[in-house]
């Protein structure tokens, strides 16, 4: 059995038995939803429906219902897209990269982080779809055989790379997530007394028996998928960043973008995981599994990635001056001092300055403060994308075309809508799916469980 140094903090608090772990995790699945869940679900559904209404209006009437114009052709749509894709980074990073690095603390958070990833990528995929002027022809972006002769997609276009990168990432993440769920579905199946749910979970469990051979295959496939998913974590956002980096627009045309975007994505992903888990551990009484230690670990990731992002921002500024390119340097002066200065400084404050407070242990182990910071980082990262997209576009080469961007109700509605849909999905997940990988957790109970650790210490 895996042994762990005594000085390491336990990852499962309290005197938990295997049975209690199952009980704790499956409380929401086997029991009834509480009032808070219904309230949250109600609010999320209203937001989702409002958003769907706005999206239908958008599709029915035209992109003009957004606030875009001749100069700013992308604004909230692609900002939201990149924001959601970024959020969708944490899950796979946690489950794949941390799995490869044998970080056991990931087990408390990887299931919900992966769920978040799946839903966030789904929300991200909404945007490139609805931002098209003619969404009904969206299939043109796939290299499908057709009757138009030699008509083919343009493999030079980063937007096309996006299509492949995101669909690959989404499918691998989904498979990875699902594979992890199989043993837990089997546990639920075995516990269910009602016929219909038992049947459904039985189907979902793919006939899992839990024998040694199955576990062996389970672990092998997890490793293989982790190996596949790890490069994807880096490729997706690198490719998203190339939408901008390969262009000629000052402020977009930057070689630093791929690493900068990836670290930003991890940064925002972890912030969103924190936002969700801090609420979830409280509401679902999972404090024994998602401990302060877990939160601290995630905060450390936030400091690291936040600092990388900060360095990237400063490098960009330096290069814009050092390059001597008139348009480039103006683009950055304009970001900081032009009409969108507030967005730039909101981004700088939220993403560069505020995460640095996590150097203080007291703050990074304070749950309330961490929750507040996670929201700040989410806002900051939204502004980062807004700054990159809108402030670069709104004043590019020819001053005659400089404009501002003014969002409309439909812009706001669609954004709120995706948040609503995301939470609807996440709440359904929390209600019907095992929110922690309970079978995997059991593997570390003896090595990292509090009672076993203290027993080991006594000896």
């Amino acid at each position: 059995m895996h042994q762990e140094a005594a000085i390491r903090k336990p990852l499962i608090l309290g005197e938990k038995t295997y049975g209690e772990i199952t009980d704790d995790v499956l409380a929401s699945v086997t029991g009834k939803a509480n009032k808070q869940w219904w309230i949250a679900f109600g609010i999320a559904s209203v937001m989702a429906l409002w958003g769907i209404g706005c999206i239908l209006y958008l599709i029915g009437v035209g992109i003009g219902t957004w606030g875009l114009n001749k100069t700013v052709g992308w604004a909230w749509d692609i900002t939201n897209f990149v924001w959601w894709v970024g959020i969708g980074h944490a899950g796979t990073l946690i489950s794949a990269v941390l799995l490869l690095f044998r970080q056991k603390w990931r087990m408390a958070i990887n299931r919900s982080a992966e769920a978040m990833t799946i839903f966030a990528v789904m929300m991200a995929a909404v945007w490139p779809g609805i931002h098209m002027g003619r969404i009904w022809l969206a299939y043109f972006v796939f290299p499908l055989p057709n009757h138009f002769g030699s008509l083919w997609v343009n493999f030079n276009s980063p937007l096309l790379w996006d299509v492949f990168a995101i669909s690959t990432y989404f499918s691998v993440s989904l498979v990875f997530w699902y594979i992890g769920l199989i043993p837990d579905f089997a546990t639920i199946r075995d516990r269910m007394t009602k016929a219909v749910p038992k049947q459904i979970y039985g189907l979902l469990a793919f006939g899992w028996t839990g024998n040694a051979k199955a576990w062996n295959r389970f672990e092998e496939i997890s490793l293989v998928l982790a190996g596949l998913a790890t490069p994807l974590v880096f490729s997706v956002h690198s490719i998203v960043s190339m939408d901008f980096a390969t262009s000629v627009i000052p402020g977009w045309h930057t070689t630093i973008f791929p690493p900068y975007f990836v670290s930003g994505a991890v940064f925002s992903g972890f912030a969103m995981v924190l936002t969700l888990l801090i609420i979830m551990r409280k509401v679902m009484n999972l404090e024994s599994y998602i401990t302060i230690k877990h939160i601290e670990y995630m905060n450390i990731v936030i400091i690291v990635t936040g600092s990388i992002v900060g360095v990237a921002y400063l490098t960009e500024l330096f290069i814009s001056w050092y390059s001597g390119v008139e348009y480039e340097s103006y683009a950055f002066i304009n970001r900081a001092t032009g009409p969108y200065w507030w967005a730039y400084w909101a981004m700088m404050t939220c993403n560069v300055i505020s995460p640095q407070v996590f150097w203080f242990k007291k703050l990074r182990t304070n749950i309330g403060f961490t929750f507040f910071m996670s929201i700040v980082v989410n806002i900051g990262m939204w502004f980062e994308r807004f700054v990159i997209i809108v402030t670069s576009l709104h004043r590019d080469y020819l001053p005659s075309s400089w404009t501002m961007f003014h969002p409309t109700f439909i812009d706001i509605g669609c954004f709120i809508g995706t948040i609503g849909i995301f939470f609807v999905l996440f709440l359904l997940f929390a209600r019907f799916f095992p929110v922690l990988p309970l079978n995997e957790l059991k593997t570390i109970l003896k090595s990292s469980g509090e009672q076993y650790k203290s027993k080991a210490e006594e000896h």
């Binding site: 992308w74 997609v153 075309s401």
Partner: protein, 1031 residues
């Protein structure tokens, strides 16, 4: 001979076998077992098909058969039963005709497709306009398809037939004529020889009656006419020749847009502005509000309109002193030094200079004549013998007519080509006077302010449905021919008058008779009139021998003029009434293309407003930035006792401090919803010294605290020191410097040493170079005056949708061609790169107009980013859009460094909110669409195609004739519309082509070339004739 051959069906018939004999008489050759089937009761009973089933099958069968018989609905497409002569579907026909609406005169070609006029182009045979048109003229084709036009004559607001209409008028008119009543014709300027002959005949037919024609020009040059009457004994406007003038001083004359013969003058002006010739005219402009002309001047001096008299008097004195003439009284004004500078330059170019004034004050014009006379300009740059006929209205006659009317002594009034209820000063009280006229007849093509006040409305056709002729200048005659059958039940004024005179001949015959008796009789080139007529109708014009220049004796009384002109009325504020380039006097305010054409100076669409100097605006607490979500503040304005409420104030750099300006021609209801656009400023004008003054010192305003939405296409006004966007220099540097001084190449340092940007390629070179055609364009910034003629021409050629004020305010205008207007910033700020201060234009800025459209980059950033390859490069160098492949990601527009791509945010041809103004929303308006160009669906990107349809037509034409394309034969819509020929289109692979030569000239550069896009559109550096080189 009968045919006795025998045909047989088979060997059996030939041999007449017994079996054949047997079966020959049977109906069916084999036994059909009907009996077996129907006779067997058992079988029938056992079969599954019941009666009900049978009925079901029957029912289905009948329904299916009848459904199959239904045709899909067929819209009426009626083929020519007999093909009309020279009209082939898909092939355009051009007709030469002329345009004159009382303001602009132009010789034009009308492009028709399948019998529909769809585009107006300049007539290149015209020695007057040389193929140029302006925005008002090339947009006029849309006015033909205005859904608000009168569909038939009206009496008391109800439609009647022409028989009824003519009968009732004849009854009333003959009563008036027979009792010797007063009949007045209030018309705009008429220079049609036939119309004038007809009016004269009308007069002479009824000698007992008092018939008189009074000419009323809404924007009058009465002062100038009277000044010329005093100076030279002729109440005419002279012909100018700016191409010979080396020194041009204009005091408030906007000769590039609103001045009579502006198209002609613009072309002449541009031909004197070619630095390659080694000389360039120097243009001084003294004016109050910044006009299009002022924006192109080398030296622009802001001066109040009330001081224009003093400016002219001082200029007179300066020149008089130098030439030894006696001086006149002149008030001292602050800008003495600048007047002397202008005077000095004029004197240095005696006989090759010109002084112009736009004033309607006779005394100022007399002084201007005096100056031109001292400078010896008459006979060289000014020709009074071969004068212009484009304005004839004398304000005094108009006001005395209104007096007569209010006295009740006018019995009949016919109003032709005028809208006095809109345009007369309120103090004249025209509407009240009109009420006292017994028989008032309005000739109008659409409802206007005057027609609502008249009982009889004669519905007139558009000029494209009419016959006519013109005589814009001495010895210069032109014909107007219909290019389409009248769309509605309309009759032109002349036809009405003929039938009221009980003449059976049509106006067409009448014109022919006029031409036969006058012009044909005095010529020798044709023997038969038919030949002569056909030739002239084909050409559209006829030039008889010019008048011999008679020696000019100036007889103006300058000293009395000077004492009158240099009177200074001091006031805190004064206001100038000006005409916008698009709307002009307001004749075509109902034309959505013109309403959406941005004003060349303010870049504002769909409104008129009060302009004010930015520092004045700041002092009074008014917003100085406007457009998009920034609104303008409004004031309540009182001018000459006439009040306006909630007038938006616009801070206009270049506006003289202490002055205001307001555009005329607005305040008319247009479109399906009869929306009133802007406000009508005409009533606030007043008579001064016997003419309607174009300014007033009696003005006050109060801020209302409210605001007003402004739709502008450009919200940023300076070029931010970006010398790769706009390049300019002065004449000295151009002449004496090297290319590096004014048009340096972009050199980048690379690993292999410094290299020109054009040598650095990420991509392989595009194969278009040196193979086949390589289309390109050159735009001379020195010739471009920013008039916007190309913009409307492009709109009309390429079916560019009208989007309306709200969409323009959201920066979503669809124009493929735009003109960027940059004001200069403070040079010190540019030097020190104070970006924030650079955003503010100077108080009296220099202006650059830069036409901007798709640059057709050889390395196009848009092409690489489109995920579906909807925008690609043609093998002739054109960046082309495939609309039906476009899915609308807008990535191409974002990645376009020139921001020339336009996205269809909505379905402009279907969505209700564009119904009121977009012509493509109804059947009538759709007639203007060019069938060669797709109407773009919502959600697709569009942009300048370099008029690929015109290129294809040109290539086909050449191919049919088995020759190469000739340079200049193919012209894009913008190039053909340009009155200054600033735009040259052609084949860059053709070494002798004009565009190739232009692209290789020293002044040639490409916009932001360092980005590496390698555009196919070249620009020529602007050269100012100034002493200092201000970037």
């Amino acid at each position: 001979m009968s045919n006795n051959k025998k045909y047989w069906k088979g060997v059996e018939e030939l041999n007449e076998t017994p079996s054949f004999q047997e079966s020959k008489n049977k109906e069916f050759s084999e036994l059909i077992p009907v009996e077996d089937f129907l006779g067997d009761a058992n079988l029938l009973e056992n079969s599954q098909t019941t009666r009900r089933d049978f009925l079901k099958y029957l029912g289905f069968g009948v329904t299916a058969a009848s459904l199959a018989a239904c045709e899909t609905p067929v819209n009426k497409v009626i083929p020519y039963v007999v093909k009309t002569d020279k009209t082939s579907p898909g092939v355009a026909n051009y007709f030469a005709t002329s345009y004159f609406d009382g303001n602009d005169y132009c010789d034009i070609l009308v492009k028709t497709r399948e019998g529909r006029p769809i585009k107006i182009e300049g007539n290149k045979m015209s020695p007057l306009t040389k193929g140029g048109v302006n925005a008002r003229i090339n947009s006029s084709v849309l006015s033909l398809y205005d859904g608000n036009r009168f569909k038939s004559p009206m009496i008391d607001g109800s439609a009647v037939s022409w028989t009824t209409f003519n009968d009732s008028i004849k009854k009333e008119l003959s009563a008036i004529l027979s009792k010797g009543g007063k009949v007045r014709l209030l018309t705009n300027t008429i220079h049609s020889p036939s119309t004038l002959r007809l009016i004269a005949e009308f007069k002479s037919n009824y000698p007992e009656a008092d018939i008189k024609q009074v000419t009323y020009d809404a924007i009058s040059y009465s002062g100038m006419l009277e000044a010329n009457l005093e100076s030279f004994g002729k109440a005419v406007l002279p012909s100018y020749n700016l191409s010979k003038a080396k020194s041009i001083v204009s005091i408030g004359a906007d000769f590039m847009s609103s001045f009579p013969s502006s198209i002609e003058l613009t072309h002449q002006y541009a031909s004197g502005r070619k630095p390659e010739n080694g000389w360039m005219s120097k243009h001084f402009q003294f004016e109050s509000s910044m006009s299009l002309t002022g924006s192109n001047a080398d030296v622009r001096v802001p001066v109040k309109t009330s001081l224009h008299g003093a400016v002219v008097a001082n200029l007179y004195n300066y020149i008089a002193k130098k030439v030894g003439a006696s001086s006149v009284s002149a008030a001292n004004i602050e800008i003495q030094e600048r007047i002397e500078k202008a005077g000095e330059h004029l004197l240095a170019n005696k006989g090759a200079s010109i002084v112009l004034s736009g004033s309607n004050d006779k005394s100022i014009q007399v002084l201007v004549n005096g100056i031109n006379d001292m400078l010896g300009n008459y006979g060289s740059t000014i020709d009074i013998a071969n004068h212009s006929n484009e304005r004839k209205g004398i304000d005094g006659e108009v006001s005395s007519l209104v007096k007569e009317m209010s006295a009740g002594s006018v019995d009949a009034l016919m109003m032709v080509g005028v809208n006095p209820s809109l345009t007369m000063p309120s103090s004249i009280n025209f509407n009240e006077a009109l009420g006292k006229v017994k028989l008032a007849i309005s000739f109008a093509s659409r409802p206007n302010e005057t027609t609502t006040n008249t009982k009889y409305i004669a519905a007139t056709p558009n000029y494209l449905e009419s016959w006519g002729d013109a005589n814009p200048k001495t010895g210069y005659y032109a014909l107007i021919q219909p290019t389409i059958n009248p769309l509605f039940d309309t009759k032109q004024f002349e036809d009405c008058l003929l039938s009221w005179m009980d003449k059976s001949e049509s106006y067409y015959d009448y014109i022919r008779a006029t031409w036969e008796s006058t012009l044909f009789a005095n010529q020798t080139e044709s023997v038969f009139f038919g030949d002569f007529w056909n030739k002239k109708l084909h050409d559209g014009l006829y030039i008889s021998k010019p008048e011999v220049l008679e020696p000019i004796v100036f007889a103006g009384n300058v000293s009395s003029a000077a004492s009158q002109a240099s009177k200074i009325v001091s006031s805190d504020w004064e206001i100038e009434f000006y005409e916008k380039v698009g709307i002009g006097s307001g004749n075509q305010a109902s034309n959505p293309w013109l309403q959406e054409l941005p004003d060349p100076i303010s870049k504002i669409t769909w409104d008129n407003y009060l302009v004010m100097n930015p520092s004045d605006a700041r002092e009074n607490g008014f917003a100085t930035e406007y457009g998009e979500q920034k609104n303008a503040d409004t004031v309540n304005l009182t001018v000459n006792g006439y009040s306006f409420e909630n007038i938006p104030v616009i801070a206009q750099p270049g506006q003289t401090k202490g002055t205001l300006g307001v555009a005329l021609g607005y305040g008319q209801a247009i479109g399906k919803k009869n929306e009133v656009i802007g406000f009508n400023a005409y009533p606030a004008m007043a008579m001064n010294n016997g003419s309607i003054a174009k300014y007033s010192t009696d003005v006050s305003f109060v801020a209302t605290g409210e605001d007003y939405q402004i739709a502008t296409t450009q919200t940023h006004h300076t070029v931010m020191g970006r010398t790769s966007v706009v390049r300019e220099t002065n004449l000295d540097t151009f002449k004496n410097g090297s290319k590096d001084d004014y048009n340096p190449a972009h050199i980048l340092s690379t690993g292999d040493g410094p290299k020109d940007v054009s040598e650095i390629d990420l991509w392989a070179e595009h194969p278009v170079k040196k193979v086949g055609h390589h289309w390109g364009m050159s735009i001379d910034l020195n010739a471009c005056i920013g008039c916007g003629s190309c913009v409307t021409s492009c709109n009309s050629e390429n079916n560019v949708p009208v989007v309306g004020k709200d969409e323009v305010r959201r920066s979503r205008e669809m124009h493929w061609m735009r003109i960027d207007r940059y004001f200069s910033s403070n040079p010190e700020d540019v030097e020190q790169r104070n970006y924030t201060s650079m955003e503010t234009p100077e108080e009296n800025p220099q202006v650059v107009h830069q036409p901007m459209m798709c640059q057709h980059c050889n390395h196009a950033p848009c092409e690489t980013v489109c995920p579906v390859a909807a925008t690609t490069h043609s093998d002739e160098g054109i960046n082309q859009m495939t609309y039906n492949r476009c899915i609308g990601t807008r990535y191409c527009a974002n990645n376009c460094p020139y921001k020339v791509r336009r996205f269809n945010w909505f379905s402009y041809q279907n969505l209700n909110r564009f119904e009121a103004l977009n012509p493509s929303q109804d059947d009538l308006g759709r007639m203007v669409l060019n069938p060669d160009v797709t109407v773009r669906a919502r959600g697709v990107m569009e942009k300048c195609s370099l008029c690929v349809q015109i290129i294809q037509t040109g290539k086909l034409e050449a191919k049919k004739e088995g020759r190469k394309v000739i340079d200049g034969e193919i012209e894009t819509a913008c190039a053909s519309a340009c009155p200054t020929h600033a735009i040259t289109f052609g084949d860059l692979n053709d070494e002798s082509s004009l565009v190739r030569k232009a692209s290789e000239s020293n002044r040639s550069y490409r916009v932001i070339e360092e980005v590496g896009t390698q555009p196919n559109i070249y620009y020529q550096v602007k050269v100012r004739n100034t002493e200092t080189n201000i970037a």
